[in-house]
C-alpha cells in the first residue's frame, strides 16, 4: 500500500509543520542545523507519526554527539536541498549525497561516509542487459537531480527518462507499470523496495554502476564553500564514529554487510 504511505507522510508532514509553527516561539536555537530528506528509505524516511528515521538520520545524530553540539534536523525536498544550504536554512546536508565534480563546484564535501553502487531494477525477467542499446525506447524512472539522473541523461540518450521529485514516487510508478525500469542506489532500491511487499516480483539486472565520472567517490556531507573549520570537525567526527564502533552499530541496524566500501 504505497499510496497509503504517501498519504500518511503528507498528513504527518502537515501535522509536523503545524507543531513546528506552534513551537517556534519556544524552540531553543541549535548549534548546528542539518538538512535531511525524509523520503529515501532506508537512509532517511518518516514513521507514521512523522518521526525521521534511517541510516542518514542516525549518522547525523551520532556525528553531532561526537562533536558535542546540539543539532536540529531540517527536512528538505531533494531538488531544493543544495539551494537551501546556500540560503543558510541549515549548515550541512546529511542525505546520501554523492560527492561529484559538478556538486563540488557549488559546495564543499567531507570525506565519504559510505559508498554503494547504483543499479537498475525492473520486473523479473523483463531485461537481462542494461546496455543503452537494450534499453532504447524504454521508460526509465529516476529521482530528479540525482547522480543517477545525470548518468541516465548522459548515457541513455535513446531511452525516455521520467523524472520524479522523490524516490518513493518512482517505486509507486514502477508498481503501477508506468515505467519499465528504474535506476538508483542499489541499497536504497534493495531495502526501500525489493525487500518490501510492493517489490515482490521485481529484481536487479545489469552491472554495478560506480563510474567515478558520474557517481563520484561515495556519499559525503555537503557544506557551504569555504567553511573549512566545520568540514574538519565533521571529518574528525566521521573518523571517530568509524573508530569507536558507533558506525558499525548503526550500520548493523539497517544492513547485513559493510556499506562503507573500500
Amino acid at each position: 500500500m504505497r499510496f497509503t504511505k504517501l498519504a500518511q507522510s503528507v498528513i504527518s508532514g502537515a501535522v509536523l509543520a503545524g507543531a513546528l509553527a506552534i513551537g517556534i516561539g519556544t524552540a531553543q536555537a541549535a548549534d548546528l542545523r542539518i538538512g535531511v530528506e525524509g523520503a529515501y528509505p532506508p537512509f532517511s524516511e518518516k514513521t507514521a507519526s512523522g518521526e525521521l528515521i534511517g541510516f542518514d538520520i542516525d549518522i547525523a545524530n551520532a556525528l553531532c554527539e561526537k562533536m558535542g553540539v546540539t543539532c536540529e534536523l531540517v527536512e528538505q525536498d531533494w531538488d531544493g536541498i543544495i539551494p537551501a544550504l546556500q540560503a543558510k536554512k541549515y549548515d550541512a546536508i546529511v542525505a546520501s549525497m554523492s560527492i561529484t565534480e559538478d556538486r563540488k563546484k557549488v559546495v564543499d564535501f567531507t570525506k565519504k561516509y559510505y559508498n554503494t553502487p547504483a543499479k537498475f531494477a525492473a520486473k523479473d525477467g523483463m531485461f537481462s542487459d542494461d546496455s543503452p542499446a537494450a534499453m532504447a525506447g524504454k521508460r526509465i524512472g529516476v529521482q530528479r537531480g540525482t547522480i543517477h539522473d545525470d548518468f541516465l541523461t548522459s548515457v541513455y540518450k535513446d531511452s525516455e527518462i521520467v523524472r520524479y521529485a522523490t524516490q518513493d514516487e518512482v517505486y509507486l510508478d514502477i508498481t503501477a507499470g508506468r515505467i519499465d525500469a528504474m535506476l538508483a542506489d542499489s541499497l536504497a532500491i534493495d531495502e526501500g523496495f525489493l525487500k518490501t511487499d510492493a517489490g515482490k516480483g521485481y529484481s536487479f539486472f545489469g552491472a554495478d554502476h560506480s563510474e567515478v565520472e558520474y557517481f563520484g567517490e561515495g556519499a559525503g556531507i555537503a557544506i557551504r564553500k569555504g567553511e573549512d573549520e566545520l568540514r574538519e570537525k565533521l571529518n574528525d567526527a566521521i573518523d571517530a564514529i568509524r573508530a569507536d564502533g558507533t558506525y558499525d552499530k548503526i550500520q548493523a541496524k539497517y544492513f547485513d554487510f559493510d556499506i562503507y566500501g573500500g
Partner: protein, 253 residues
Amino acid sequence: MADAAQISPIQDFIVSAIFDYTVVVDNYETFLIGIWNTITLVALSLLFGGLLAVPLAVFRAERHPIFSPLIWCYTYLFRGTPLLIQTFLIYYGLGQFEVIRDSFAWPVLREAYWCALIAFSLNSAAYQTEIFRGAIEATPFGEVEAAKASGMSRLTMMRRIILPSAFRRALPAYSNEVIFMLHGSVIASTVTVVDILGAGRTVNAKYYIYLEGFLAAAILYLTLVFLISRGFKLWEKHWHAHLRPRSAASPAE
C-alpha cells in the same frame, strides 16, 4: 555556464549571483516542450470541461429533479477539493488498483499527461458549470417572454436566445477561469509532466540552482496571462459591441 571560463571571476560572480540566463538559453528546448505541454493541457481541459459544462449547466438551471442534485454534488466535490489532490487520486490512486491496470483504460491512465488532462477537465467542468448556470439564471425575463411569445420551443429558445446571451454574460468570469486553469496546470509538474514549471525544475536540478528555472517559468506564465487577458479583451469588445455607448461621430457603426 558553458562560457564561464571566458568571463572574469567578478563578472561570473555577478551574473551567477543574480540570474544566470545562459542556463535558460542553453535549455530552450526543454522550455519549448514545457510551453507546448502547458498550452495544450490548459486548452484541451478548458475545451473538454466546456463541452461537459454546457449540458450540466442547463440541467442545473432548469432545476431538473434528478440530475440537478447529482450535478450539484459533482460541482461541490470538484470545487471543494484541491486540484492537487484530484490529480494525485487519478494518477497515483487509480494506478494502485490491478483491475484498472488490467483494464482497457490503462493505456490512457498510464500516461501522466492524460491523467493530468482528465483531472483538469473534470475540475474545469465543475467551475464552468457554475459559471454558465449563473449566467443562464440571470437571463432577463423579457428575453424569455419574447421568445415564448414568438412560439419558440424550449430547445430552440435555449439554442437561440438563452445560451448565446448567457455566454456573453459569462465571458468576464470565464476569462478568470482560464487564468485559474493556467495557474492550476503547474500541478502537472508534480506527476512527471514536463510543463513550464517542470522545465524550470529540470533546469534547476541540472545545475543545482533555484532561481533561474523558477524565474524563467514565472516570466513565461506572465507572458501567457498577458496574451490571455488581451485576447479576452478583444473577444469582449467583439461580443459586447451592442453594449458600448455609440459615439456621436460615427453613428452608423
